[in-house]
């Protein structure tokens, strides 16, 4: 089924693709052992020092007991049964008692070691995830703006998962590694010559790896890239499902996805081949080592240079010796992935925080609600200012409307008032304080915002409305909902205020979501209210009712309102007209109309909206403004 084409394929449509077309992050594919990552990692281990110490002790005890077992077997052979010496049951008994004791110790140490390593590993992973997540709560929005959520999620989940996979298998690898050294020591101690001969096959292994490594690395890298492309396309299918079903792209997308999935399949098959080809090589070397022991060891036994117990012990050790090498080989790609994952995780943790609280930042209990912009220049990209030398002041209790065409910088202005970003030059003051002197938490408390996009959480309606103030009473929540005219529809829901919202509020209409987002800002009960197109998807009648309610709610508060319906703007105490990042005029509706500038011209052209005015008309209006 997987091979048969699903339909007779016409030539591939030129434009059709699935999955994000943004360049992939340059794929990191680290070394199997990256010192930097390991060192960083160690700092996260520090809190578990005590546990780790016990774990390390357990590993040592475990390894010693693991090494002791073949030695005891040897003792049974040599001392109790061995050679021609007269066998003695008492010796056997004594050795057996020791053996059982060692096995017990082995069990306890093994259990301790694996539990500690396993649990600590889990703790570490959760710590790392928390560190990333916590950091993402404070990094500047400049970073968040240009980073897709999916990519962050893949670091928060995918990379942590890759580390987990590694840590889980490495529990054994670490034990094995210690064992490896132990075995080498014991071998050389038992019989240096035979030991050296047995180990002589190891350099061969190193030689093989030199040839194998670069190719294998390429194969692993391809597999990883294919896999992230495939998952990206799946994510698109999940998030864009409405558009996909609406535009009937299902069959075509499935075909395109199949190409990606097939590439994913092929690259993984190749990577798997590279991993497994090492097995016969390692096994051959094991065989060779054992053959050496038998031939040379046998001869040595014959010449009485060695006894048979040593040979038996050698054979046993040799088998164990290659086990770790084998599992380390198989885990090589896991290890590499883990190092790359570690690097990506630390990259997130290392993202610089541009906007941070000053060390002496204050958090006043109350402020007076004044806003002032003092020669503010700001932009998102260096050399391209979006706001140019803006100055204005809003008195406490005043309602000011920001108007201007799309892209003129209205949203950016409100963002600066909340210090989402830092200004390039000049200063923004809230209640007389430079926003950089206030803690961000206090800005959050004193300024409530209704953002352009009404984002809601998968939680109950009540919890969404009181998101800004978790302690808000039911009465407060309901009062806010009533003020925005949402109370009626909420009450009609079977669970009323306890109705759970689906992701993004999918079970509400867009207008209803906007109302809830509005109510949320009202509950915050802040001194300053910022409304960014808060009622764009609401009909004029509902909007009017909200405005009536606002009149009451806004007494004693400062409001900064962005709206594109003139009916809403007209209402403000003062209107600031922005154009291309600069203030072109300011005044009350009547004053501006009298002045006959841009505002008046646009208004007379009877635009119901200031947003999205065609460039040529705008130019005409501006021209007109200059001529008068």
């Amino acid at each position: 089924m997987s091979a048969t084409p699903t339909r007779s394929t016409p030539p591939k449509p030129p434009l059709a693709v699935v999955g994000s077309q943004i360049e992939q992050d340059e794929e990191l594919f680290g070394r199997a052992f990256d010192r930097w990552v390991v060192v960083r990692f160690l700092s996260y281990i520090a809190p578990y020092r005590r546990r780790i110490a016990i774990g390390v002790a357990a590993v040592l005890v475990f390894t010693l007991s693991q090494l002791a077992i073949p030695l005891l077997v040897r003792a049974v052979f040599d001392d109790a049964l061995g050679g021609l010496a007269l066998a003695d049951g008492a010796v056997l008994r004594a050795i057996m008692v020791a053996f059982v004791a060692v096995v017990l110790v082995n069990y306890v140490a093994n259990h301790l070691m694996e539990t500690i390593v396993g649990e600590t590993a889990q703790n570490l992973l959760f710590d790392l995830r928390r560190a990333m997540y916590g950091h993402l709560q404070v990094v500047s929005l400049t970073f968040m703006d240009k980073t897709e959520v999916g990519r962050l999620m893949s670091r928060l989940q995918g990379d942590v998962y890759a580390l987990q996979e590694f840590l889980e298998s490495s529990i054994f690898a670490v034990g094995d590694l210690v064992l490896l050294f132990g075995i080498v020591t014991v071998l050389l101690w038992l019989d240096p010559v035979l030991g050296a001969l047995t180990l002589s096959v190891v350099p061969l292994l190193a030689l093989v790896r030199i040839v194998w490594l670069p190719r294998a690395r390429r194969a692993f890298m391809d597999a990883r890239e294919a896999s992230s492309a495939t998952n990206g396309a799946l994510a698109e299918n999940v998030h864009g499902i409405r558009a996909i079903q609406e535009l009937t792209r299902e069959p075509l997308n499935a075909d395109l996805f199949e190409e990606k999935a097939r590439r994913n399949l092929n690259t993984h098959l190749r990577a798997s081949a590279f991993t497994n080809v090492m097995i016969p090589i390692v096994d051959t070397l094991t065989g060779a080592a054992m053959a050496i022991i038998i031939v040379i060891g046998g001869a040595m036994v014959l010449n009485r240079e060695s006894d048979i117990g040593v040979m038996v012990a050698f054979l046993f050790y040799t088998q164990r010796f290659f086990d770790p090498i084998r599992s380390l080989t198989i885990q090589y790609s896991t290890m590499q992935r883990a190092m790359a994952a570690g690097q990506r995780i630390f990259e997130v943790i290392d993202v610089e925080v541009d906007v941070a609280d000053a060390t002496d930042a204050v958090d006043p209990a109350t402020i007076d609600g004044a806003i002032s912009f003092d020669h503010v220049t700001f932009g998102y990209e260096p050399g391209n200012p979006v706001l140019k030398d803006i100055s204005f002041a809003v008195a406490p209790g005043e309602t000011v409307a920001l108007v201007g065409p799309t892209g003129s910088g209205k949203t950016s202005t409100t963002a600066l008032a909340h210090r989402f970003y830092d200004v390039w030059s000049g200063a923004v003051r809230i209640g007389g304080y430079d926003v950089r002197e206030l803690t961000q938490a206090s800005l959050g408390r004193h300024i409530a915002m209704v953002l352009q996009e009404p984002f809601l959480f998968s939680a109950s309606i009540r919890d969404n409305i009181r998101f800004a103030k978790t302690a808000a009473s039911d009465a407060e929540v309901e009062a806010a909902a009533r003020a925005v005219g949402a109370d009626a529809f909420i009450r009609r829901l079977a669970d009323g205020y306890d109705t759970m919202l689906e992701q993004g509020g999918a079970n509400l209409s867009l207008g209803q979501r906007q109302l809830l987002s509005f109510a949320r800002a009202l509950v915050a009960d802040a001194k300053i209210l910022v409304l960014d197109e808060a009622t764009a998807s609401v009909d004029s009648y509902t909007e009017l009712e909200i405005q009536r309610a606002l009149k009451r709610l806004l007494t004693g508060r400062t409001a900064l309102i962005i709206a594109h319906r003139l009916a809403t703007i007209r209402d403000a105490d003062r209107i600031i007209v922005l154009q291309d990042g600069a203030i072109v005029e300011t005044g009350s509706h009547h004053a501006l109309m009298e002045k006959g500038g841009l505002y008046a011209r646009l208004y007379r052209m009877n635009y119901a909206s200031f947003d999205d005015i065609p460039a040529d008309e705008l130019a005409a209006a501006l021209d007109g403004g200059q001529r008068t």
Binding site: P10, Q21, V73, L234, A235, L302, F316, D571, R604, I613
Partner: protein, 623 residues
């Protein structure tokens, strides 16, 4: 898709997207199903099993040769002492054994390689099939299901759960063969050497087996709990990052961290429980195994002392036991793998087995378009999750003929968007029917219906891709001139051609940020490109100013001349020329008629109109 659906078909209509199991029961159905999937590649599975058997058998040969070597060495030694040395012959025997051992080791290596590779290959093939099936299934499932199921959960299933299932062939099926043969063969040989000693050496097998099945049940439970909690964590993180501006705006970081910590701690607890369960069972198994080895040594030693068996035979027994040490560990891994595969498989099949509630009827015919007349006949509807008794829509009837236009207005939540979405069967009507040229839309194929109806959605989803790709999303074969014609109609062309990368400019989550009006115009361009016969604009000009909208309307005039058009809008100027306007409130039509008659009626429409009409007339807003 060839994924068998043995489970009873469930409709996605009532499914909440969660997967529950009865933990007390051993659920083999899922594992059987995954195993059956593996055997859809009979050639590779046969080869894989053969390689596995060969690897296990050769693994069994190694201790025999080791035992042989010890016996030979001892023979040599004995010979040397008694002076009857046939040194050459003895050395030759040693060489032969060494050679054989080397040969077996090489063979074993090759067989193990084949085993692992084929196991992984079949796993990847299954993974491919599952991925395709899952992708297609998500495309087919109805939107009401998608509304309910979190995207984070769907991604977890599509990545981690497929991974868990994929690993089953390698770490489950083939390993099972391997372990059975190793333990079975080992038992056979051991019992052959010395029945009593063999029994002692194998004493650990039943104990480990019983321990394993206990652990499996508990582990499965834990895996499921873990997957659920990880999903919850994913949800929290995804929403936080998606709504980061809201979080920042209200300085809710502490609150959000607390939410995260709570779920994270629960997940960590479960993860640690899984580790403890897993470690306890594996270490206990190893312990039992070593105890068996001690018993073997003791009893075997006694037997050697009494001369019942040779030292070589004891070596062989021990060597076998040594070879079984790895498998004992692997039994632990296998249990983990069983638990994981059955949980992950269960979660996946849970989605794959759903039958979409919105799908082609068995006898569905493609829509035959003649004129393109749309009729709503007494349509009623309620969202499946809507628990209240009031309907979202009820008693909606109207007809639109080609070249005519219906306008819809009403407060938020009146049911306007719902009405639009019924027309291309995002949801099915609960009462009444919708027809196009007399054909009930539930009786025609979905593809033909959706090709005939184009909806400009209220919120346009932009794919992270170039602008031309986004515009041509519904008509991927469209050529540049067609694309430009529709962007010109949507008044977007001049903006796009002004961009440095023009139509190749990337938009979407991380692309250039388009204004609300630009997004809406892109959505319009995208919707008109496939030239559907019925056009619906769902509040899709809210962010576009009136003059631009008028230009769009003019440009569209030739296009809409022979098409049925539904316009949902808040700005009445968009509706003034509609042939009929429906005023919707609480899912009912409360006023209807053309502009003039509604104005004459002096009801809600009139009130709305007066509010919006011209500049300063409604100065009372301020008062």
């Amino acid at each position: 898709m060839a994924i068998d659906t043995r489970a009873p078909a469930r409709s996605d209509h009532a499914d909440g997207g969660t997967y529950r199991i009865d933990v007390s029961k051993v659920d083999t159905a899922v594992l059987r199903r995954i195993t059956a999937m593996a055997f859809r590649f009979p050639g590779r599975m046969a080869a894989g099993i053969t390689a596995t058997v060969a690897a296990a058998l050769m693994q069994l040969l190694v201790p025999q040769y080791l035992g042989q070597a010890v016996d030979q060495a001892q023979g040599l030694l004995a010979g040397a002492v008694s002076g009857r040395t046939d040194r050459d012959a003895a050395e030759a025997a040693l060489w032969t054994t060494a050679g054989l051992l080397l040969l077996v080791a090489v063979g074993r290596g090759l067989a193990t390689m084949a085993q692992n590779y084929l196991g992984e290959a079949v796993g990847h093939l299954i993974g491919f099939d599952l991925r395709m099936a899952y992708y297609r299934q998500l495309q087919r499932l109805s939107l009401s299901w998608h509304d309910r199921v979190h995207t984070g959960d769907l991604m977890t299933r599509g990545i981690l759960d497929i991974e868990g299932v994929r690993l089953w062939t390698d770490t489950g099926i083939l390993r099972m063969f391997y372990l059975s043969i190793l333990i079975g063969g080992g038992a056979f040989v051991l019992l052959g050497i010395d029945p009593v000693l063999g029994l002692v050496a194998l004493a650990f097998v039943p104990i480990v087996g019983v321990r394993a099945s206990f652990a499996r049940l508990k582990l499965r439970d834990t895996w499921l709990a873990l997957q659920d909690r990880m999903s919850a964590l994913t949800k929290i993180m995804e929403e936080n990052l998606g709504g980061i501006r809201v979080v920042r705006a209200f300085a809710a970081q502490d609150h959000e961290m607390a939410k995260f910590d709570q779920v994270s701690a629960a997940a960590l607890e479960t993860a640690s429980r899984r580790v403890r369960l897993f470690v306890l069972s594996t270490t206990q198994m190893t312990f039992v195994y070593f105890l068996a080895m001690a018993a073997t040594l003791w009893i075997g030693g006694t037997k050697v002392l009494s001369g019942t068996i040779t030292l070589g035979q004891l070596t062989e027994v021990l060597a076998f036991m040594l070879i079984l040490q790895m498998p004992v560990r692997q039994i632990g891994w296998m249990i983990n793998s069983i638990a994981r595969a059955s949980t992950c498989g269960g979660r996946l099949f849970n989605v794959l087995d759903l039958t979409p509630s919105i799908a082609d009827a068995p006898d569905a015919q493609p829509l035959v378009l003649d004129e393109g007349v749309v009729r709503f006949e007494d349509v009623g509807f309620r969202y499946p999750t809507w628990a209240g008794d009031s309907r979202t829509l009820s008693g909606i009837s109207f007809e639109i003929r080609p070249g005519r236009k219906i306008g819809i207005v009403g407060p938020p939540g009146a049911g306007k968007s719902t009405l639009a979405q019924l027309l291309n069967r995002y949801y099915d009507v609960g009462a009444g029917r919708i027809t196009i040229d007399g054909q009930d839309i539930r009786q025609v194929t979905l593809a033909s219906l959706r090709a005939a109806v184009a909806i400009v959605q209220q919120e346009a989803f932009l794919f992270t891709a170039s602008i031309d790709h986004n515009v041509a999303y519904g008509a991927p074969y469209a050529m540049r001139p067609d694309i430009e014609r529709s962007t010109q109609t949507a008044q977007l062309h001049s903006y796009v051609s002004g961009l440095p990368a023009s139509y190749q400019t990337l938009v979407g989550e991380r692309g250039v940020s388009l204004s609300g009006g630009q997004r809406q115009r892109l959505a319009i361009a995208r919707a008109i490109l496939p030239a559907a016969r019925v056009l619906v604009f769902d509040d899709s000009t809210a962010a576009i100013d009136a003059a631009t909208e008028r230009r769009i309307r003019d440009a569209l005039a030739h296009f809409t001349a022979d098409r049925a058009v539904i316009v949902i809008a808040h700005r009445l100027s968009s509706l003034i020329d509609a042939d009929e306007i429906l005023f919707l409130e609480d899912g009912r039509v409360v006023e209807r008629g053309d502009h003039n008659s509604l104005m004459a009626l002096g009801g809600r429409y009139r009130k709305l109109h007066d509010l919006q009409a011209g500049g300063g007339q409604v100065a009372d807003v301020t008062s």
